[in-house]
């Protein structure tokens, strides 16, 4: 048995098989349990270590060979798989409440498997090919066969597809830079290619226009899943590039570009969110700002930046899951998600309204919530490097907070003497309630997640040591 077979091939097959099941509840529970099982195996059964269970000897090999190249999951990557599949399980358990299990669970498994393959493939720059396959799979996940494809979908397909050639060519050029480090023009060309590739893939300003467009057009829950898994794995892939090539690691220009890109994402995400009048669009700008936080973490001193980057991942997954579930529940009860139609909705959807506000506050670095510890560490370390950058980060956060307070004002602005009549289903109440409690637990006791994160930086040869 090998690790790629367990965490890549098995989920791919499971995803394909689950396409034949139509029962939402069954899909949600089955998907959640399998995701959780994969996460538990990743955490407790070490890779490349022989174990004796009863009379049997068990050892999970770290690699398999496919068409002359290998898929390799190192022992240090176990906790990352735990986080990825744990978050996937969380998403799948909530899929029934969001009425999205039919598409999300089967295709979500396949996308997750491909994203894990992108981390595992050797040479690592082939990851771009796996990410592209995941993007193609995301299209039927995001759109229904009975609705005309929107402009957002077309733009998503085009922008994300254009990333792959840039990254593959950049990877090849970087090989040349390694061979002749003195060739400055080659280094500039490869860095430009790489920058363009990641700008498309991470939807860096101004290439994020498809995100708010899609937010209005598709299920917020499904979109949030895509906005969690694609940028999270892509950022790790990007960190892999930085880890692998010495000239990138030591280049102050590239670090500055990362910082500026991150700030652009955070400030535009935050400020644009503050001026939105649509709850789904606000969530989408929150997701854009989240990517900005991750990029900023990557631009810090590696000893601090990489642990902060990993600290941001669980908070992002949980926050987005709760936020998108809440927005999806609200969407099911109103004509559209514009402020005019959601006024006073808190009286009839108190769990969804609370979930949305708490998750948005978590993204906005509000104390005692999951997003706070990682962002404060990031802010503090950023201020040590550049006070101006820290100020800009503050502006982005202020924008996010403003949008949250506006949303809270709108959803609580009910007519006088309106009674409280909760309309969420039991599953929705349970999932939203658990999500909100988890956001508080991660915020008040951030050390609980450290168990998974402590050894994660070791997956990078240079950045983590």
């Amino acid at each position: 048995m090998s690790a790629p077979a367990i965490w890549i091939i098995f989920p791919l097959i499971i995803g394909a098989l689950l396409l034949f099941i139509n029962n939402q509840r069954l899909l949600s529970i089955l998907g959640g349990i399998i995701g959780l099982a994969l996460a538990i195996i990743a955490q407790f059964i070490p890779i490349e270590t022989a174990m004796s269970i009863g009379g049997f000897s068990l050892k999970i090999a770290s690699s398999i060979t496919v068409l002359g190249r290998s898929l390799l999951i190192q022992p240090a990557e176990g906790p990352l798989l735990t986080i990825i599949y744990g978050a996937v399980a969380l998403w799948f358990f909530g899929a029934e409440a969001a009425n999205a299990a039919n598409r999300l669970v089967p295709i979500g498994f396949m996308i997750t498997a491909l994203m894990v393959a992108s981390i595992a493939v050797e040479p690592f720059l082939y990851a771009a090919l796996f990410i592209q396959m995941a993007i193609l799979l995301a299209i039927p996940l995001l759109t229904s066969i009975y609705e005309a494809p929107s402009k957002g979908i077309t733009r998503f397909l085009v922008y994300q597809t254009l990333a792959m050639p840039f990254i593959l060519l950049a990877g090849w050029l970087l090989g040349g830079v390694e061979a002749s480090p003195g060739d400055l023009s080659l280094a500039t060309q490869s860095a430009s290619m790489l920058g363009l590739g990641f700008a498309f893939l991470l939807a860096i300003f101004p290439l994020f226009t498809w995100i708010p467009m899609l937010a209005e057009e598709v299920s917020p829950y499904i979109l949030a899943f895509i906005l969690w898994i694609l940028p999270t794995v892509t950022i790790i892939f990007c960190a892999g590039f930085i880890d692998r090539y010495a000239f990138i690691r030591t280049s102050p220009q590239l670090i500055l570009a990362l910082r500026l890109g991150g700030l652009a994402m955070l400030v535009t995400g935050g400020v644009f969110a503050a001026f939105q009048r649509n709850l789904a669009r606000i969530m989408s700008y929150g997701a854009i700002a989240e990517t900005g936080f991750s990029m900023l973490a990557l631009s810090l001193n590696v000893k601090v930046g990489i642990p902060v980057l990993f600290l941001l991942i669980p908070a992002r997954a949980l926050g987005l899951a709760v936020w998108s579930l809440a927005v999806t529940v609200i969407k099911g009860h109103v004509e559209n998600l514009r402020f005019g139609k959601t006024q006073g909705i808190l009286r009839i959807l108190p769990f969804a309204g609370t979930g949305m506000i708490i998750a948005a506050l978590s993204t906005s670095t509000f104390p005692l919530l999951a997003g706070f510890p990682g962002r404060v560490a990031l802010w503090e370390n950023l201020a040590r490097i550049s006070l101006i950058s820290a100020l800009w980060m503050g502006i982005g956060i202020a924008g996010l907070l403003t949008s949250t307070i506006r949303s809270l004002a709108v959803i609580s602005m009910a007519e006088e003497y309106t009674t409280w009549q909760p309309r969420e289903s039991l599953a929705q109440r349970i999932m939203l309630g658990l999500g909100v409690i988890s956001l508080f637990i991660l915020g008040i006791f951030p050390q609980t997640i450290q168990y998974f994160l402590t050894n994660l930086p070791l997956m990078f040869e240079h950045l983590g040591r």
């Binding site: 002359g68 494809p149 077309t154 085009v158 597809t161 050639p165 060519l169």
Partner: protein, 202 residues
Amino acid sequence: MALTVAWIAVLLLLITSTGLLIVRDWRWSLILLAIQYLGVFLLTLQHWPLGMSSVKLVAGWMSAAILGMTRSSFPSQEIDEQGFWPRGRLFRLFAAGIILLIVWVTTPTVDTIMADAGYAITGGSLILIGMGLLHLGITTYILRVVIGLMTVLSGFEILYSAVEGSILVAAMLATINLGLALVGAYLLIAQNNAQTAEDEIE
């Protein structure tokens, strides 16, 4: 001999990619796309063995067939032209001319960067990338968007074949091409379903 074949392929790519910009009938678009993959195959053959190069041809033709079979099941011709702006053929020819000029100027530089892949290969791939991007810039109709993306990817694949000979990469790029065609077919069906439902309501 190989060089002559390569330049013939470049000419073929120039004709097909420009043709894709000009023609309005989806049948001609898909015929030109299929011929374009023949040109891609001939250029890839300069660096890859016959077996691996033919993967590109087969995958390309299969992609064109998928799109053709899907489109042929819809009755209306009108939706082709929605979002294909601007409509003037002269304008598109002029834009194609500008792309050609840019390719002419940049080919030597790109060829040097790409380890002297050869002017024919570099030029051919840049023509496809440029024309594909132009195509993507002037249309929102899904069939044309997919054709535009396939054209850009074909250009990249030619260039990449000069520096990378991995079987895994060839297989995955072929899968991506087929996947793109399937996604295109899915979106075309979705668009047609929505339009049919709209017509029924009216």
